[in-house]
């Protein structure tokens, strides 16, 4: 069992928790993820490591309350325990040789982008961050990004906070005006990453994307997290859990990844309703 040390809502649907897991805290690097189970009959879900405190032996996770499992997780309070917490899994984000980086986070993906931005900042790279949200109510981690970015752009789809537009707008403006980056790293909804990659390609800037497919074991055993890379005209199957989660954005087949992520859409809907009923009844 793993203890929830702190719990803090970041907005109406996004929650941050610190979990006591010293072995994981000791090893985790930016870009890696963990897998957790809330309770004995729970499913295994992957969540990216949002930070660690080696001295306290804690790992920070940030999750959006979207399905049955995240609802159950959100029903737990600080001081309570979750069943399983495994990691760190996947490869850490590659930082070698990158002196100037553009980090682009979308929505709850900002939680994953943040430790990557912090790591580059720590290593002395120039960090330009773009964070985008649907509207002002769901803006998260702005202060944290400001602290580790040389420049920060905040965008909302409806213009209710920061500037109006999606994250590709400021990226294209910068690239058009001749600004150079060693690397663009983007983390967020698949469709957003797809368009960031298209923009990066247009200006010939390398682009890393962080994939978050459905997975079970997270150690290379089930193959559920597979995705396809188009490499020199050849299609190659990769496993996000052991080969990723970071991939060269130019190569990822996003349409396939988007389709695969919706495999259990039906089931998730039912599970959400079920969890709602369960949690509501519990509260009565």
């Amino acid at each position: 069992m793993y203890k929830i040390i702190t719990k803090k809502p970041l907005n109406d649907t996004v929650v941050q928790m610190e979990i006591e897991a010293p072995l994981v805290a000791n090893k985790a690097k930016a870009g890696q993820f963990i897998i957790l189970r809330v309770d004995e009959d729970g499913e295994r879900i992957p969540l990216t490591v949002a930070g660690t405190d080696k001295e306290k032996g804690t790992v920070k996770i940030i999750f959006q309350v979207v399905g049955g499992t995240t609802m159950k997780l959100n029903a737990k309070s600080a001081g309570e325990y979750i069943q399983d917490f495994i990691g760190p899994l996947g490869k850490a984000t590659e930082t070698d040789g990158i002196k100037k980086v553009c980090i682009i986070g979308g929505g709850v993906g900002c939680a994953i982008a943040m430790p990557v931005a912090q790591e580059f900042h720590r290593l002395g790279a120039e960090v330009v961050s773009i964070i985008g949200f649907r509207n002002k109510d769901i803006v998260i981690l702005e202060d944290e990004f400001r602290a580790c970015s040389d420049r920060l752009f905040v965008y909302t789809d409806d213009g209710s906070y920061g500037k109006q537009g999606n994250v590709v707008v400021p990226l294209k403006e910068m690239l058009s005006s001749g600004e150079k980056f060693d690397m663009i790293i983007t983390i967020g909804p698949l469709v957003m990453m797809k368009f960031v990659v298209l923009a990066a390609k247009e200006f010939n800037v390398p682009c890393t994307v962080s994939m978050n497919p459905i997975m079970i074991d997270g150690t290379g055993m089930c193959g559920g997290c597979r995705l396809t890379l188009n490499k020199d005209g050849k299609r190659e199957t990769k496993f996000a859990c052991v080969d990723g989660p970071d991939f060269n954005g130019y190569e990822v087949d996003f349409d396939e990844a988007m389709s695969r992520n919706r495999m259990y859409a039906d089931f998730e809907q039912r599970s959400r309703e079920h969890a709602c009923n369960l949690l509501n009844n519990k509260g009565e």
């Binding site: 072995l23 994981v24 090893k27 189970r37 009959d41 729970g42 499913e43 295994r44 049955g68 499992t69 069943q83 399983d84 917490f85 495994i86 990691g87 760190p88 899994l89 079970i216 074991d217 150690t219 290379g220 055993m221 089930c222 193959g223 559920g224 597979r226 995705l227 396809t228 199957t237 496993f239 052991v242 087949d253 396939e256 389709s259 695969r260 919706r262 495999m263 259990y264 859409a265 039906d266 089931f267 998730e268 599970s271």
Partner: protein
């Protein structure tokens, strides 16, 4: 006394009933039937069966005690060499091991050794309450990576010798393939739990949720005071055919399908883990894993399940009993067939059609057997123009696995072969001092019993290594 020419039949749930539940298929011998089956053993002098067993269970001796009704005594004999008798009695391919060599089998059916082993183990587990005594510790720490058959065997043997053994398991439940791979109807999980609890009673410490190669490395285990390490991390990454359509929704590796059902309990209504149930299912492959996947799909409510296998029944690698059970349950065997493409649903008029991107069928080609390959199995060759389609909703690829790279990539000095399997010598020693390995991590996908044999050998070698070191 006249020889009974056939094995006493194993009582089973009837095919129609069991095809729709997850309870165990085979129900086990009664004491009376077990004694009668044991009486078929000729107790021949040269005991070929013992050599046919990867862990050399003293088969004629335990059968002799079954004849006299001393079932607990029989258990003690098996347990001397096998740490998981209730498991082996259920999942060993006896027809290619002990029973294949049985003298009685030359003229008649061989003695039902596996059935007797199962009976004896189940008798022990239900009747006798002798808890294992924790041996006196010798204070030497040994780490075992993976809690599958090889790891559990190695841990058990070392614990009996007084070593302080820690087993590190990546998943949340101990048992490895016995838990995530082999279904409940073939190996009830309560049996695996009993075996694991037995090890705990011997003082073995089991640490779940620790991924060696990620959470800790092999070198860090030595830093933490472990004097030797056994790697039994299993087979790893599932293979795919690299044909069109393998990324469609509804295509699973057998590992994923079975893990969802077995480990994550997706067959239960109250479980949080989703799985595609019902409809038409094609399982590609002819091994035990393919049979397990097909029969699981059936029990999850499939209307029709096909096995698509590229060779013929003579070459099928699954245990005979599993193939027979699958056929009785109505699995449709499409032999000498190979998939060439998985077909997907795509509504050109509505890109938002929820069915888009799901499997709609599998296109196969008929095969014929050509010349034998290097292993002596006749190579299947496609028959030009013989393509046909099966309408299915789910496709499960059960065509083997490749070794997992996590440990290799994080362990300096650990050599692997071209296939990624860890290289060991005849004692189970790897290229790294103090590091031993066995099971599927070494051989690629094989059997539970061969993994146990490797775990046993490694335990012996580790004991010798550490005894010499400390002498």
């Amino acid at each position: 006394m006249a020889i009974v020419p056939k094995k006493h039949e194993m009582p089973t749930q009837s095919a129609e009933i069991r095809a729709r539940n997850f309870n165990e298929v085979a129900l086990g011998y009664s004491a009376e039937v077990a004694v009668n089956e044991a009486k078929r053993c000729l107790n021949c002098k040269n005991r070929p069966c013992v050599a046919g067993c990867p862990v050399n269970v003293n088969i004629p001796d335990f059968i002799s005690l079954v004849k006299t009704g001393d079932f607990e005594g029989a258990y003690k004999i098996i347990n001397k060499t096998s740490s998981l008798p209730a498991v082996c009695g259920r999942v060993c391919p006896q027809e290619t091991q002990c029973e294949q060599r049985c003298t009685l089998g030359i003229k008649f059916e061989p003695v039902g050794i596996g059935r007797l082993e199962r009976f004896v183990a189940d008798y022990h587990n239900s009747a006798a309450q002798t808890t294992e005594q924790k041996p006196k510790s010798n204070g030497i720490k040994v780490a075992v990576v993976g809690s599958g058959p090889s790891g559990l065997t190695c841990a058990g043997d070392l614990a009996k010798k007084g070593y302080e053994v820690s087993v590190f398991e990546a998943l949340h439940t101990a048992g490895g393939v016995l838990v995530y791979g082999i279904p409940e109807f073939r190996l009830p999980k309560s049996i695996v739990k009993k075996e694991v609890d037995g090890l705990k009673a011997l003082g073995v410490d089991i640490e779940t949720n620790v991924v060696i190669g990620k959470t800790l490395t092999v070198d860090e285990l030595f830093d933490a005071g472990y004097k030797a390490v056994f790697i039994g991390s299993g087979a790893g990454l599932p293979n795919f055919m690299n044909i069109k359509g393998e990324s469609l929704k509804g295509v699973y590796s057998a590992n994923e399908f079975l893990t969802r059902s077995n480990l994550m309990k997706a067959y239960r209504e109250d479980c949080d883990t989703p799985i595609m149930k019902g409809g038409f299912v094609a399982v590609v492959g002819g091994g035990n894993v393919a049979m397990d996947a097909a029969r699981t799909a059936l029990r999850l409510g499939a209307e029709k399940v096909y096995i698509v296998y590229r060779r013929s029944m003579d070459e099928i690698p699954a245990r005979k009993e599993e193939v027979e059970h699958a056929m009785e349950e109505g699995i449709d065997f499409r032999l000498l067939c190979n998939p060439v493409e998985i077909l997907g649903y795509n509504n050109p008029d509505n890109p938002r059609d929820v069915k888009n991107g799901f499997v709609s069928g599998i296109k196969c080609i008929k095969m014929e057997l050509g010349e034998p390959d290097a292993k002596g199995r006749r190579r299947p060759v496609p028959i030009a123009g013989s393509e046909f389609e099966l309408k299915v909703d789910t496709v499960i690829m059960a065509i083997g696995t490749s070794p997992n790279p996590l440990i290799k990539n994080t362990t300096e000095g650990l050599n692997v072969n071209d296939h990624g399997g860890i290289i060991v010598d005849e004692n189970g020693l790897t290229s790294k001092l103090g590091v031993y390995a066995g099971g599927d991590a070494v051989t690629g996908a094989a059997t539970v019993i061969s993994a146990m044999g490797a775990g046993k050998l490694a335990a012996k070698s580790i004991d010798e290594y550490l005894s010499n070191k400390n002498a």
